[in-house]
């Protein structure tokens, strides 16, 4: 609860005003039945027109005040709840921006999106409800009980029975019904999963002609969901009729006991009528309260998920010293000194073990090794996307932790294996590398990445709009755009993590040649599968199970390293 106060701080006034207006509204409304009974019991009985008009005027004025109070309350609560949601979203988004790769891995992007959208919306509704109903319902209840007792304390016993009766019934129904809702959710998840898998696998389903089989499977899953939905909703829909029953029986009881009292002369018809109105209001408020509590408890899960994000400590930050010194990488020399790494502290085994090597400025080092040998992990340590567990990585002689993240990452370009483009034009995407890039610079980068030609063949050229994650370009084209984007950073160090796998060999060779032709080439680390992609590298680093198994030129390794020979031969023979 307290964690959310900062997000509400702009709306303090509204937070006080909204409940205040609720109180005004409730008071205006609660005296209406009492006034009405005066019209019947005094005005009509004494046949006094002025009295009736007088009371009628008061009722009218109170109603008008109530309208104003209500509109005001809605205004303040909307503003507060919506504003709160906006602040909270901003808070979460800002927090996520500070996350390291391991923070991101922990949550997963789908789950972060849900937290940032759905969960925030749920809390927005909750704040709205709190400002509007949570005070109103109990207040209304209290006032109505107070007025009812004032009219006739004896009859109020009926209220004393009706309130627990209704509370218990609601509790019982919810207690029975809610577990079914959880089960229903599980069934719904299955249905959703089946749909999703079928969409992903549409080609598999079609090629094995499994449409009918899948339809049957889905029918079963959907049928299960139906059965559970009927059970769950079937119980909860009884709440309204039960409430109606309790209310009506109470009214009958009031007519009976009230009627008897009127007959014995202690009670008046108008009072009976207002008493009926009060008990209606009491039970309605009780319903509202129950529903609010339910919403409240449901929002708990959302709140927990949001707090998880907000309370997550980003595990890679700039040190004060780095900020103070504002050091910049100058040449692009990389040195690994006995680097160890594991993703989670508690995991028993290191993913990278005792990695030591040096890359001089302008040198090209290739990294090869079987899937799962931690090649990607190794290069991601350089721009501090993950933090080394042991040992040191130095750039130009200084530990990478002595640079600010911004200075470091601005000069280290990493083309990720799983790369993303964003919706927008090609030029906009490329400018990620350098927001100030001129058209000329963009074209030069695209030419080096062998992307210029295909971009120019598009109808809108550099202004062609890419769909989300570049759905409208092929895998190879996407890779080339990603390389061009990184080149625009004008990096000292360029890392290609299997970034040319979808290119045919000729194009890949062209990219490599163009990169090398630069007068001042960056230090390059290249991860690749194909020997052809790496054999021209200055040195090749062979990783096996997170350890350096061999390092040297192609010629050296082909003669001296058994695994390298195996890889080489595997690519020569069928």
């Amino acid at each position: 609860m307290k964690s959310y106060f900062p997000f509400l701080s702009n709306y303090r006034k509204a937070i006080y005003l909204a409940p205040l207006l609720v109180i005004v509204d409730v008071i205006c409304e609660i005296v209406q039945p009492e006034l009405m009974s005066k019209i019947v019991d005094v005005g009509v009985k004494q046949k006094s027109l002025p009295y009736i008009l007088h009371i009628g005027m008061i009722m009218l004025i109170l109603s008008l005040i109530a309208i104003a109070a209500n509109v005001g309350n809605v205004y303040f609560s909307s503003r507060t709840s919506v504003g709160f949601a906006a602040e909270l979203r901003k808070g979460i988004f800002t927090k996520i921006q500070t996350f390291s790769f391991s923070n991101l891995d922990k949550f997963g992007s789908a789950s972060l999106v849900t937290r940032l959208t759905n969960d925030v919306n749920i809390l927005q509704d909750l704040v709205m409800m709190m400002l509007r109903l949570l005070i109103r319902a109990p207040l209304m209840l209290l006032f109505a009980v107070f007025f009812a007792i004032r009219i006739n304390a004896g009859l109020a016993i009926i209220i004393a029975i009706a309130i627990p009766l209704l509370s218990l019934s609601i509790y019982f129904l919810l207690h029975r019904g809610l577990p079914y809702f959880e089960k229903m959710q599980a069934k719904l998840d299955i249905v959703t999963r089946v749909i999703q898998e079928n969409l992903i696998n549409v080609r598999v389903v079609k090629s094995f002609v499994r449409e009918n089989y899948e339809n049957k499977q889905f029918d079963l899953a959907s049928g299960d969901l139906r059965a559970m939905a009927v059970k769950a909703s079937g119980i909860v829909v009884l709440i309204m009729p039960v409430m109606q029953l309790v209310m009506n029986i109470s009214i009958v009881a009031i007519i009976w006991f009230g009627g008897v009292e009127i007959i014995s002369g202690h009670f008046q018809v108008g009072q009976l009528m207002s008493f009926i109105t009060y008990i209606t209001q009491i039970l309605m408020s009780l319903m509202m309260l129950a529903m609010s509590i339910m919403t409240f408890s449901r929002a708990g899960a959302s709140s927990k998920r949001i707090l998880e994000v907000l309370n997550q400590q980003p595990d890679i930050l700039d040190s004060d010293e780095a900020i103070l010194k504002n050091r910049q990488p100058q040449k692009g020399k990389i040195e690994f000194r006995k680097v160890y790494f594991k993703y989670q502290e508690q995991s028993p085994e290191f993913v990278l073990k005792d990695i030591s090597f040096t890359a001089s400025p302008g040198e090209t080092i290739a990294i090869i090794g079987s899937t799962g040998s931690s090649k990607s992990t190794l290069v991601q340590l350089i721009p501090r996307l993950y933090e080394v567990t042991g040992g040191q990585i130095l750039i130009d002689g200084a530990d990478i932790r002595e640079y600010t993240l911004e200075n470091l990452r601005n000069r280290v370009a990493l083309v990720l294996q799983k790369n993303e483009l964003f919706s927008g034009t090609i030029a906009q995407n490329l400018r990620w590398g350098n927001p100030q890039a001129t058209q000329e610079q963009i074209m030069t980068a695209a030419k080096i990445a062998q992307a210029h030609e295909f971009i120019m063949s598009l109808p809108e050229k550099y202004e062609s709009v890419l769909g989300q994650n570049g759905v409208n370009v092929s895998g190879g084209q996407k890779q080339r755009l990603c390389i061009a984007r990184s080149l625009l950073k004008n990096p000292l160090i360029l890392i290609l993590d299997d970034s040319t796998s979808a290119l045919d060999i000729q194009t890949e060779a062209n990219v490599r040649a163009a990169l090398k032709s630069n007068s001042n080439p960056p230090t390059m680390l290249i991860i690749a599968q194909r020997i052809s992609s790496i054999r021209s590298a200055d040195r090749i680093l062979l990783l096996e199970n997170g350890e350096i198994n061999g390092i040297g030129t192609h010629e050296e390794l082909i003669h001296g390293n058994k695994i390298y020979q195996e890889i080489y031969h595997s690519q020569q023979l069928v």
Binding site: S77, E211, I263, L405, Q506, R530, Q572
Partner: protein
């Protein structure tokens, strides 16, 4: 950046805000409604009973209120206790009857609604299954999912309670009006003076809130889209130090949403209390005028009491109707979108003369085949390929040359625009599509698996295969050894698309799945490209086993995997530029030679 995002992202297909008020108007509400009605099917009788019970409950409630009049006039004021007891009994009976009717009605409605939803859901699923691949190319998964989730949810809510609530509110409203007129026409006129005003205010608010809600939907869609894209690409954001820019763009969208949502929430939130308060004014007016009429025109006290009771009840159905009207609109709009998909044209049915093929030899011929995903953009131009039964044909060429497209045509994932394809001399359009596809197995580049056991995932290739057959298929394709090391062996459950397996292992399962299908024709589309070459050797053995005695088509980047093909086809810009076996092509010193030497140079 923010501007383009604003322009580009439309709320269509994005999850709505529980679709309270939809921006779309259901084009033809009645037609959509009628179509939903057809889904009730044999439940029309239940529906009839439900309406009957609804009527019972409404009448019980209305007459209960009315009975206040005789109770006060005839028994309480004249001090008749015995009569009062009778009256109380009648009231109790009425109210209990009403509530019981309402309980039964509510439960029945849930059953009817969920059955209907189940029917629509399965129909939608089946229809989607039958649609051609072009449909999936042009519709995102998110969009299709939201038909099943948002749209169906809205519809489900409306069917569960919405429709009966609207109905009962209308009945109640008519009933109240009728009873008021019966008690005192004069007082009714006074009461009704305010009603047009109430409706006018309600109409105004609904209109305003509709406009603001659609503005909110738009802003929400833009923000959600942006968030989804940025969070998914968060690692790229990090690599490019793009955090500040992302935050700036986010703030623009966030502020926009805040402003629009405030208006939307204000107008939608103000509706209920305002109507309620107007009703209170009405109540005050009725009480005062009622009192005057009682004095001047001699309206009985009981009548006044009953009348006031009715006038208090007046606001609720009005509120209910306006609330439900909005959700109903959203539901109908959703239903319309669902029906739109159901109206998509499925894959062309088999020709009447189409042959049923039990066993094929595997002679394949492409004769002058041209094809484009859109008519303006031909991808393949006059392709002719001949494969004799049992031969291995390799297809190589640059990215985007049309290699995968060729192979999509054989199982008729797409229909060709020009030329013919023959299997065993029969044009494939004259073969039953299911038989055609059953005789071809494709090992795709992206390996997708189902949430199920390893056993079931392999068995997917041929559902009637025995466990023993599954295991031998796995052995043949070289998957057996790693499967046995899994925690529960063949009974290990693969979750979220086989995420707990390595790429190579998933690929092996894929091959085992193709093996068990016992196809006559095999297509390998870059089946091993994302695996390192040492692992590939293991997989290659499985593949070789699989290819024995089968016509196979292999698409590969790595030329080492295609060398021993009977014919290698070099594709460039949708045309065959070279063809022949490995040695021949090398001697040709053309494109293949170029590709080959770039690899081994």
């Amino acid at each position: 950046m923010a501007e383009t995002i604003n322009r580009k992202l439309t709320p269509a297909g994005l999850p709505g805000r529980r679709g309270k008020i939809s921006s779309e108007k259901p084009g033809n509400a009645l037609r959509v409604f009628g179509r939903i009605f057809t889904y009730l099917g044999d439940q029309k009788l239940s529906m009839f009973v439900i309406i009957l019970l609804l009527l019972v409950n409404t009448l019980a409630t209305l007459s209960g209120s009315y009975l206040l009049r005789p109770t006060i006039n005839k028994y309480i004021i004249p001090h008749d206790i015995a009569g009062l007891i009778n009256m109380i009994a009648v009231l109790l009976a009425l109210y209990i009857m009403g509530s019981v009717a309402s309980m039964i009605q509510n439960r029945m409605m849930i059953t009817v609604a969920q059955r209907t939803i189940h029917k629509i859901r399965t129909d939608l699923f089946c229809r989607i299954q039958s649609l051609p691949l072009q449909f999936f190319d042009s519709h995102s998964h998110g969009e299709l999912m939201s038909r099943f989730t948002n749209d169906l949810d809205n519809l489900s809510d409306s069917l569960n309670t919405g429709i009966t609530q609207i109905l009962s509110s209308f009945l109640t409203l008519t009933g109240i009006l009728f009873m008021m007129l019966y008690i005192s026409p004069l007082l009714t006129i006074v009461t009704l003076v305010i009603v047009p005003f109430m409706l006018w205010v309600a109409g105004r608010i609904i209109n305003k809130s509709k406009t603001y809600f659609s503005a909110q939907q738009g802003a929400l869609g833009a923000l959600d889209g942006y968030v989804e894209e940025m969070i998914r690409g968060q690692k790229v954001v990090k690599v490019f130090c793009y955090e500040k820019n992302a935050l700036d763009d986010f703030e623009v969208l966030n502020k926009d949403l805040r402003d629009k949502a405030t208006h939307a929430q204000l107008y939608s939130g103000v509706m209920m209390p305002v109507i309620q308060n107007l009703n209170t004014i009405n109540f005050a007016l009725t009480a005062a005028v009622g009192g005057i009429i009682a004095i001047v025109k001699g309206l009985d006290i009981g009548g006044l009491a009953a009348f006031l009771q009715y006038s208090r009840q007046f606001g609720r159905p009005v509120n209910e109707i306006s609330n439900q009207y909005n959700s109903l609109q959203a539901a109908l709009a959703g239903a319309e979108r669902i029906f739109q998909i159901m109206d998509e044209i499925p894959e062309k049915p088999d020709e009447p003369q189409a042959e049923s093929l039990q066993k094929i030899n595997g002679d394949v011929e492409f004769r002058q085949v041209s094809f484009g995903y859109s008519p303006a953009n031909p991808v393949l131009k006059k392709i002719s390929v001949m494969a004799k039964a049992g031969q291995k044909i390799a297809i190589v060429g640059s990215t985007g040359a049309g290699k995968t497209t060729i192979m999509n045509l054989l199982p008729r994932f797409y229909d060709i625009s020009e030329g013919q394809i023959f299997i065993d001399g029969i044009n494939i359009v004259n073969i039953k599509r299911d038989d055609l596809r059953k005789s071809i197995a494709v090992v795709f580049q992206d390996t997708h698996l189902f949430t199920s056991t390893v056993m079931e995932n392999i068995r997917y290739g041929r559902l009637e295969a025995t466990d023993q057959e599954v295991i031998s298929a796995a052995q043949l394709s070289g998957a057996d050894s790693f499967i046995k090391r899994l925690p529960k062996g063949y009974l290990t459950i693969l979750e979220s698309d086989g995420g707990n397996l390595s790429q190579g292992q998933r690929q092996l399962l894929n091959i085992a799945r193709a093996t068990i299908a016992r196809p006559s024709i095999l297509i390998l589309d870059e089946a091993t490209s994302s695996i390192d070459t040492r692992t590939e050797i293991i997989i290659q053995k499985g593949i070789d086993q699989l290819m024995k005695n089968r016509t196979s088509f292999v698409i590969a980047h790595r030329l080492s995997t295609v060398r021993n093909a009977d014919e290698i086809i070099v594709l460039e810009h949708g045309q065959i530029i070279e063809r022949g076996n490995h040695e021949f092509l090398l001697q040709l010193k053309g494109r293949y030679y170029q590709l080959y030497s770039a690899q081994f140079d």
